[in-house]
Amino acid sequence: MSSGVQDTYDRAVFGTWLYILSDFLFFGTLFAVYAFLQKGNDTNKLFSLKYAFGETLILLSSSTAAGLAGAYLHRKDRRNTLIYFFLAWILGAGFAALEFLNLFSIASRNYTWDQSAFLSAYFTLIGTHGLHIVFCLFWMIVLLLPLFFTQIRDVDVRRLTCFRMFWQFLNIVWIFIFTIVYLMGVDGYYG
C-alpha cells in the first residue's frame, strides 16, 4: 500500500476502535441498568440457558467465519473472502432470527416490557443488541456488493476490516450478555 492509503487505513481502523469503545460504554450503561433492575426477579420462567448457549455457538461460528474472511481479504482473495463473509452472514442472520424469536416467544407468553422495569431492561438490552446485528447484516451486504463486480480494492479492504472489527465487537457484547444475563441468572434469582 502507498503511504497515503496506509494513513487512511490506519486512521479508519483507529477511529473504528474508538467508536467501538464508545459503543461499549453505551452497552455498559444498559448492562448497569439491567443489573440494577434485575434484582429479585425470577428469570427461569423467561428464558432457558440451553437456548442462549445455542445462540452463542452460532454467533461465535459467525465470528470465526468473519475472521477467516478478514484474513482472505488482506490477501485480496476475492472468492474466499466472499464465501466466508457469506457464511458469516448466514450464521449472523440465523442468530438474529433466534434472538428475536426468543423475544417474541417471551412476549407471547404475556411477559411484555411494559409489565415491569426488569422486563423493560431485558427487552431493551437484548433488543438493542439485536438491532445492532440487523443493521450490520444490512451493512455487510452494502459493503460486499462491489466485490461481485470488481477485484478487491484498497477501499474495500479498509471498509470491510472496520466492519469485521465491529462485527466481532458485537460478539463480545453477546458474551457479556450471555454471562451477565443468562449465566448469572441461572439460579433464577440474581444477587
Binding site: R11, F14, L18, L21, S22, T29, V33, L37, S116, P146
Partner: protein, 645 residues
C-alpha cells in the same frame, strides 16, 4: 397522517407569538438578504458543503452566537419576571411559559452556546497547531456540525410549533414521564439533545484520531501545545461520556413512547437511574467545556506575558488528573439522594480534590505572568476576569462539595450563582479571549481593541451585578426556578440582578458592534505577517487566513514553542518536501443527513411515524451514496503550489 400535529400547535399567548414572529421574521429577513445579494451559490459551495475545518469552526461559532442571543433573551425575561413577581403580583409570564423559558435557556446555553463555542475554536485551531492539513475524517466533521445545527434548530422550531419542555434543562423523571408531561415539550428537548449529542460524539472521535495520528514530524506528546493537550483530554471525555447520555435518553424515549418502565417506581423502576446516568455524563460535560478554556488561556497568557508557560509538565498532569477525577464526582449533583454517609463522603472528598489540579493551573498562569512583560490586551482582560470569577465560583463549588452544606443549599439560587460563575467566568470568558486572540488567524485582521475592552467591562460588571445577589438570595432561602415569591426582602436583590443582566446585554451588543466595526475598518488592522501577536505555536507560522491546505509544506518541530524558538534563533522551521497535496472534496451528504435527522426528530416529536421512517431511509440512502457515489478527494498539483508560494 400528521400524528399529534394539528393547528392547536400554533396556539400561544401573546408573548410567545411575539417570540415566534421575531424568529420567523428574522429568518425570512436573512433569507431575503441572501437572495438579494445572490449569496446562495457561495453559501452552498463554500460553506454548507465545506469539509474545511476552518470554515466548519466559523459555522459553529456563528450558531453559538445566535443561540447566545436566544439564551440571553430568555435570561432577561426570567429576570424581569422575578424583579416584579413578589407577593400578590404574578408577573407578566404565565407559569407554563416561564417553565419553558428556564428550560430552553439551560438547554440552549449548555448544548449549543458553550458546546458550539468550544467545538468552534477546536475546529479552527487544533489542526493548525499540530501542523496538519485537516482533521482525520473531514466529512464526519461536516456531518457533526450539521447534526449539532439540527439539534439547535429543534429548539428554535419549538418556539413556533408546539411547546418546549417545562421540566428544567435536566428533564428528570418522573416529571418527564408521559403521566405528568404528555405533551411534545419533553420530546423536543430529548431529540434536540440526542442528535446534537451524537454530533458531539462523532466530533470527539474525529479529534482524538486527529491528535494521535496526524501530528507533524517531531511533535511528540510532551511537545504539544497545552491547548492540544486540553483538547485531547476533552475529546476522551466526550467519547466516554456521551454514550451514557445517548443510552439514558434512549431509556427516557422508550419510557415515553413504548411504555417501558425504567423510571416508573410503580413497576419496580427507579427515577434515580436516570439522575445518576444523567450526571455520569453531566459532570464530565462540565470539564468538556472548561478544559479547552484552560488550554486557550495556556496559549494566551504566555504570548501576552512574553514568557514561556510556567510549569508545562504540571499543566499536562493537572489536565490528566482532572480527566480522571471528573468521572468520579457525579454524585455531588444529588447528595440528597440518600446514598448514605460513606457514599456522600467519597464523592464530597473527590469533588474537593479536583480543586487541587485546577488550583495548580491558576497558579501556573499567574507565575507565567510574574516578571513577564505583560500586555493588557483584551484577551488578557478576559483572562484576568476569568481568574477572579473562576476562583469565586470554585470556592463556592468547594462549599457545595460538603454534603452538610449542600443539603442546605442544593437547588437554591446559591447553586445557580455557582455554576453560572464557573461557566460564564470560565467557559464564556475563555471563549471570548480565544475568539479575540485567534480572530486574525481566520480573517486576516485583528478585532477592535477599544470596543473589546468595553465589552469586557460590561460583561464583568453585569455578571457581578447579576449573580452576586443570587449567592445572597441562596443563603436567604430562595430556590431556583421560582416564577413568584412572597418574601418582599428578596425583591431588591432580584432587581439588582435584573439590572445586571442588561449590562451583560450591553456587553453582547458591544461585541457585535466590535465585530461589525472591525470588518468595516479592517484595512487599519490588517495582518500581513500571519503572526500579529508575535506568538509561539505553529498556527501562526502560516498565512492569515491560512490556505485551504493550511501548510504548503509540512513543518517539523524540535521542541516546545517551536515557532517562537525559530523566530528567536533566526533559524526557520525545517519543512518537508513540496509535493502534490491530496485534499478532501466538498460534499452535500453531511448537510442532507443533518437535515434528514432534523426531519426525523421533528417527526418523532409529533408521532408522524411514516415521515420518521422515510427520513431514516433517506439517511441510509445518503450514507450509501457517500460510500459509493462520489469521488472523495482531489489533488492540488505541485506546480500550482509553486505558483502560489
Amino acid at each position: 397522517m400528521l400524528g399529534r400535529l394539528g393547528l392547536e400547535a400554533l396556539k400561544h399567548d401573546w408573548i410567545e407569538y411575539m417570540a415566534g414572529v421575531s424568529i420567523v421574521g428574522g429568518g425570512l429577513f436573512i433569507l431575503v438578504i441572501i437572495t438579494y445579494f445572490k449569496l446562495w451559490k457561495v453559501l452552498w459551495k463554500d460553506w454548507i458543503t465545506s469539509v474545511d475545518h476552518k470554515k466548519i469552526g466559523i459555522m459553529y461559532i456563528v450558531v453559538a452566537f445566535l443561540m447566545l442571543i436566544k439564551g440571553l433573551i430568555d435570561a432577561i425575561m426570567m429576570r424581569a419576571q422575578q424583579a416584579i413577581a413578589v407577593g400578590a403580583s404574578h408577573g407578566y409570564l404565565g407559569e407554563d411559559h416561564y417553565q419553558q423559558i428556564f428550560t430552553a435557556h439551560g438547554a440552549a446555553m449548555i448544548f449549543f452556546v458553550a458546546m458550539g463555542a468550544i467545538f468552534g475554536i477546536i475546529n479552527l485551531i487544533l489542526p493548525l497547531q499540530i501542523g496538519a492539513r485537516d482533521v482525520a475524517f473531514p466529512f464526519l466533521n461536516n456531518l457533526s456540525f450539521w447534526l449539532f445545527a439540527s439539534g439547535g434548530f429543534m429548539i428554535i422550531v419549538s418556539l413556533v410549533i408546539g411547546v418546549f419542555a417545562g421540566t428544567g434543562w435536566t428533564c428528570y423523571p418522573p416529571l418527564a414521564l408521559p403521566k405528568y408531561n404528555p405533551g411534545v415539550g419533553v420530546d423536543y428537548w430529548l431529540w434536540s439533545v440526542q442528535i446534537s449529542g451524537i454530533g458531539s460524539l462523532l466530533s470527539g472521535i474525529n479529534f482524538l484520531v486527529t491528535i494521535l495520528k496526524m501530528r507533524c514530524p517531531g511533535m511528540r506528546l510532551m511537545r504539544m501545545p497545552v491547548f492540544v493537550w486540553s483538547v485531547l483530554a476533552t475529546v476522551v471525555l466526550v467519547f466516554v461520556a456521551f454514550p451514557i447520555l445517548t443510552a439514558n435518553l434512549g431509556l427516557l424515549f422508550t419510557d415515553r413512547l413504548f411504555s417501558t418502565r425504567f423510571f416508573d417506581a410503580a413497576y419496580g423502576g427507579n427515577p434515580m437511574i436516570y439522575v445518576n446516568l444523567f450526571w455520569a455524563w453531566g459532570h464530565p460535560e462540565v470539564y468538556i467545556l472548561i478544559l479547552p478554556t484552560f488550554g486557550m488561556f495556556s496559549e494566551i497568557v504566555p504570548v501576552f506575558s512574553r514568557k514561556r508557560l510556567f510549569g508545562y509538565a504540571s499543566m499536562v498532569w493537572a489536565i490528566l488528573a482532572i480527566l480522571v477525577l471528573s468521572f468520579i464526582v457525579w454524585l455531588h449533583h444529588f447528595f440528597t439522594m440518600g446514598g448514605g454517609p460513606k457514599v456522600n463522603a467519597f464523592f464530597g472528598i473527590m469533588t474537593m480534590v479536583i480543586a487541587i489540579p485546577t488550583g495548580v493551573k491558576i497558579f501556573n498562569w499567574l507565575f507565567t505572568m510574574f516578571r513577564g512583560k505583560v500586555q493588557f490586551s483584551s484577551p488578557m482582560h478576559w483572562f484576568l476576569g476569568f481568574v477572579i470569577l473562576f476562583t469565586i465560583g470554585g470556592v463556592a463549588g468547594v462549599m457545595l462539595a460538603l454534603p452538610g452544606i449542600d443539603f442546605q443549599l442544593h437547588n437554591s439560587l446559591f447553586l445557580v450563582a455557582h455554576f453560572h460563575t464557573v461557566i460564564i467566568g470560565g467557559v464564556l470568558f475563555g471563549f471570548f479571549a480565544g475568539f479575540t486572540f485567534w480572530f486574525p488567524k481566520f480573517t486576516g485582521f485583528t478585532l477592535d481593541e477599544k470596543l473589546g475592552k468595553r465589552a469586557f467591562w460590561c460583561w464583568l460588571i453585569g455578571f457581578l451585578l447579576a449573580f452576586m445577589p443570587l449567592y445572597l438570595l441562596g443563603f436567604m432561602g430562595a430556590t431556583r426556578r421560582l416564577n413568584r415569591y412572597d418574601v418582599a426582602d428578596w425583591q431588591p436583590l432580584f432587581i439588582i440582578a435584573f439590572i445586571g443582566v442588561w449590562f451583560v446585554f450591553a456587553g453582547v451588543g458591544l461585541q457585535f458592534l466590535q465585530i461589525f466595526r472591525s470588518v468595516l475598518t479592517r484595512k487599519e488592522r490588517i495582518d500581513t505577517t500571519g503572526d500579529p501577536w508575535d506568538a509561539r505555536n505553529l498556527e501562526w507560522s502560516t498565512t492569515s487566513p491560512p490556505p485551504v491546505y493550511n501548510f504548503a509544506t509540512i513543518p517539523s518541530v524540535e521542541g516546545r514553542d517551536a515557532f517562537w524558538e525559530s523566530k528567536k534563533t533566526g533559524k526557520p522551521l525545517s519543512q518537508g518536501p513540496l509535493e502534490d497535496i491530496v485534499m478532501p472534496k466538498n460534499t452535500a451528504c453531511g448537510f442532507i443527513i443533518g437535515f434528514l435527522s432534523f426531519v426525523f426528530s421533528f417527526a418523532m416529536v409529533w408521532y408522524i411515524f411514516w415521515l420518521a421512517i422515510a427520513s431514516l431511509v433517506g439517511i441510509l440512502a445518503a450514507v450509501i451514496y457517500r460510500v459509493y457515489g462520489e469521488e472523495h478527494e482531489y489533488v492540488i498539483p505541485k506546480e500550482e503550489l509553486e505558483k502560489r508560494l
